[in-house]
């Protein structure tokens, strides 16, 4: 167990022992937005919990007993530690050193029962290049981690899609370690689930690494989506770019975005930018958005953050409607457009289109053709 100094953005405690962490009361900084009553089953060990396996046709995916995984990650909160001690198996995605994998590796995560612990361990070997798509369907309650190691000179893009019914809960840590001159891009698309709490983090193992954390989410009804990002620049000349966009509709929808970026004294030459924009599609939803940028050195190339939550732009609607487009369709076009640039950054056009179609479907919009038809 390690304990960090009190007022810095880094998690204070890292431990495999669930007893190192108190049960959340709602007063803790990291729990103050979450609906603790909804997430209650995630705060105690369930010995009956099921396992999560990865279904894939790819040769790079295997399901193994958890003991055989040497994970680089130590849990940083109660749910993480419980999931780690409760998980019996792990999904391993291993991209060999110097492999160039052209087709995306698609993995669907499947739970063996209505509550399951999950552990996924992704390794992109040195100088490899790959794209991975993880389909996390919200058909069970799942707690766990997706641990990502991007080795020196590797290039990894990870798309995680959280879609499905609106009843279930998902808590997932997404800790990534980025090697020397490695490039990591992650995008989470959150559409399904009753409560989804995602905790992506990035650490750099050496200089020259770059990380792009992207996210789009669309919360409706009483959906609660929380994304808590932590990027720690502890190495020189690394880059981070964090862009999340959310749309919310319905009086009970609630989203939380916390962007913690910490630039340590030794991280000279850092370039970092973080941004969250939220679009309120109706009256009533709540979007909490808190960027925190902490600089321990002034010797950076650039460091910026932005956060904005706004209503629909009536001038855009008017413009589209004045071209004969009915109000409802005009709104859908604007929402799709709002998300388009984030998904465009993935560099996976086919998956971008698929994600757009899923978003359209959520918005109740028939979509026979893609944007660039």
């Amino acid at each position: 167990m390690t304990i960090a100094p009190p007022h810095d953005l880094a998690p204070r405690v890292a431990s495999f022992d669930p007893d190192s962490f108190g049960v959340p009361t709602g007063r803790e900084l990291e729990w103050r937005f979450a609906p603790l009553d909804v997430l209650k089953p995630f705060f105690s060990l369930d010995p009956e919990a099921g396992t999560v396996t990865g279904i894939s046709t790819s040769e790079f995916v295997a399901n193994v007993p958890i003991e055989s995984v040497a994970s680089t990650w130590t849990p940083t909160d109660l749910t993480g530690a419980l999931a780690r001690s409760g998980a019996r198996s792990a999904v391993v995605i291993d991209i060999p050193r110097e492999a160039r994998v052209d087709e995306p590796v698609v993995v669907r995560l499947e739970a063996s029962s209505s509550f399951a612990y999950q552990h996924v361990e992704i390794t992109a070997g040195a100088f490899s290049s790959a794209r991975i798509v993880i389909e996390a369907n919200t058909v069970a309650d799942i707690s766990g981690a997706i641990v990502i190691n991007v080795a020196d000179g590797a290039e990894l893009t990870l798309l995680m899609v959280v879609d499905g019914p609106k009843e279930h809960r998902l808590v997932a840590h997404l800790p990534a370690t980025v090697g020397r001159d490695a490039r990591f891009t992650a995008c989470t698309v959150t559409l399904g689930g009753r409560a989804v709490r995602l905790l992506p983090s990035v650490h750099y193992r050496s200089s020259g690494g770059s990380a792009e954390l992207l996210g789009v989410f669309l919360a409706e009804g009483e959906q609660f989506f929380e994304q808590r990002i932590f990027v720690e620049h502890e190495q020189p000349h690394c880059t981070s770019n964090v862009i999340y966009k959310g749309a919310l509709s319905g009086a009970l929808a609630h989203t939380v975005w916390i962007g913690d970026v910490l630039v340590r004294r030794e991280a000279i030459g850092t370039q970092t930018y973080e941004m969250n924009r939220n679009l309120l599609l109706s009256d009533g939803p709540r979007a909490d958005s808190v960027p925190n940028l902490e600089l321990e050195t002034g010797d950076v190339v650039s460091a910026g953050h932005a956060s904005a939550t706004g209503r629909f732009d009536d001038e855009q609607l008017f413009y589209l409607q004045s071209r004969g487009i009915p109000a409802e369709l005009a709104r859908q076009l604007v929402v799709r457009g709002f998300f388009a640039d984030v998904l465009g950054r993935l560099g996976m056009p086919a998956w971008r289109d698929t994600m757009m179609q899923r978003i359209s479907a959520r918005l109740g919009m028939a979509d026979e053709e893609s944007d660039d038809a």
């Binding site: 413009y319 589209l320 004045s322 487009i325 944007d371 660039d372």
Partner: protein, 254 residues
């Protein structure tokens, strides 16, 4: 033969200091095939007139009427007006991030015509219309108006005019922000549409230079929320040499 009739139209906008009346009794009719120029000084309410015809929600019509072939335009939603055959080329076209020009145009044409154009003929039609306005085909893939220069925005408006083929076109300062070449290209686009469609045109402008390319049948002088004088194309010449002063003084309440 169609007719757009505006009768004693009053409209106001809500401001922090209460409602402010901007249109103060506008009466005007335009028939198919005819071109009316509306000329007036800054802030006289020209764009307000255009927006009220198109149905912008920020203005309230307090009295008067607008009809299109007898149909009550004021009772229609913004998109219904467009589908009924009204088109407004805006003075300041709006940026719509993430929506490509091609997707936007096809969606609009589908809405206005009531059915989706066949993909193959559509692409050809769009490309030709863009070529007519000397627009780079790459514009089709860009987001609507985003990062367009002033002149590119105006060409994009006229491109929509050519593809949507309305009964009446209201062109709000389509000439502003254009250099001489762009003005000629845009004016030729408007003329091509007028001639091929026989549509009526309401050409709103501050300056007379566009009238060298597009000859109006009627010129209205618009001051302080209403038309203060109407005449033939020669009235524009008077404005060119004398400016609006005479009319502004005349419009002052006694």
């Amino acid at each position: 033969m169609s007719e757009l009739v505006i009768n004693d139209l009053h409209a106001s906008i809500e401001t922090d200091a209460g409602d402010k009346e901007i249109l103060r009794g506008v009466t005007l009719s335009v028939e198919s095939g005819r071109t009316h120029a509306v000329m007036g000084p800054n802030g006289s309410g020209k764009s307000t007139l255009a927006y009220v015809i198109a149905g912008h929600p920020k203005y309230q019509v307090t009295s008067g009427s607008i009809t299109l072939d007898g149909e009550d335009v004021l009772a229609m939603s913004v998109d219904e007006r467009a589908r009924a055959g009204l088109f407004l080329a805006m003075q300041y076209p709006v940026e719509v991030p993430g929506v490509s020009v091609s997707n936007f145009l096809r969606t609009s044409v589908t809405a206005v015509k009531g059915e989706a154009p066949k993909l193959r003929t559509w692409v050809k039609e769009m490309k030709e219309a863009m070529a007519d306005l000397q627009m780079d085909p790459a514009f089709a893939e860009r987001s609507v108006n985003e990062g367009f220069s002033g002149g590119e925005k105006k060409r994009h408006e006229i491109l929509q005019l050519a593809l949507l083929r309305p009964k009446f076109a209201i062109l709000d300062e389509t000439d502003s922000g254009l250099d001489v070449d762009a003005l000629r290209i845009v004016a030729e686009g408007v003329n091509r549409y007028r001639e091929s469609s026989g549509a009526g045109t309401l050409l709103i402008t501050h300056y007379t230079r566009i009238l060298r390319y597009i000859t109006p049948d009627v010129v209205h002088v618009f001051v302080d929320g209403r038309i203060v004088e109407s005449g033939g194309a020669d009235l524009a010449e008077v404005l060119e040499t004398e400016g609006y002063e005479r009319f502004i003084t005349a419009a002052q309440p006694a």
